[in-house]
Amino acid sequence: MASSVVSELVLFIVSLLVAGMVAGGLYVVTQDISGGILTKGQDVAESLRTNFEIINDPENIPVSGSSYVFYIRNIGKDSFSFDPNSVVVMIDGSIIPPANLTFDPSGVLAPYEVGKIYVPTAFISSGYHKITVVIETGKRKSLVFEVG
């Protein structure tokens, strides 16, 4: 009789331990999934709210010193990073090395703010070209322009 009670108790404790472990695993996996859903949702929302345009006059790209100046306007609802490490600039498909680019302001571009990207004239010959700017969210904009 006593051994029956002990075995019943052992079985009870073991079953609770197993159930607890399964429940713990379920909790960890669920928390991971829910965290992933939230992060993905935030990324998608940020991507949708972020937008910009290259607003230069395509026929008159200004020159400052030895660089062409491209105007970037934030037309989205959120700010985005605006520096050589988070923005990629391509001319006719070729990436301009970040070390050759200058950003003004360098840091963050707030909604409706206009920033400037200085691209050395050595990378752009006369004629028609296409500049493509890609920001950290992956959003990209292009502008076909002409330099004399």
Binding site: L26, T30, I37, R49, I55, R73
Partner: protein, 169 residues
Amino acid sequence: MGVSVPAAFAVLLIATLVSFGMLYVSSENAYSMVHQATEDYNQMVLKAKTSELELTGYNYSTQSNVTVYDITFNITNEGSTLSPAKWTYIYNGDLTTSKVLTSGREYLLPGEWMELTVQNLQKDQTVVNSLVISTEIGCGLKIKWKWVGNATNGSPQVISSAWYCPVEG
């Protein structure tokens, strides 16, 4: 055996319910964020598609004994409400704040018009001037004009104007 199985089942049931609850809350939050952002995005796209500025007239002021003139454009809003306070002006390719004079109004409602003056332009008939009025939605109105005549007798003439939105080329 009598209580072990129900107890384990109860623990698993509670854990499953809690897990589903967590998943539901995070999914609901993510959906709300994406839904709100989609609404904002749709608003941006809709505003870009339904906005348009048009050059409806222009005049100028000068004196025969000076070599400069001012030109005033009448800009009419042919689309959705815009905010001139958020516009930027690009004169001959350069971003400018001093060359262009505006009334400083906050909104330009559908059908309303406003004046915009470009100051101190040279009476040089070899120069084609251009002004891009870049609106808060990224689209802009580009106007090109030149001085026709000589310094004492002449007037500016608009060559072309175009409303455009930059698109991926």
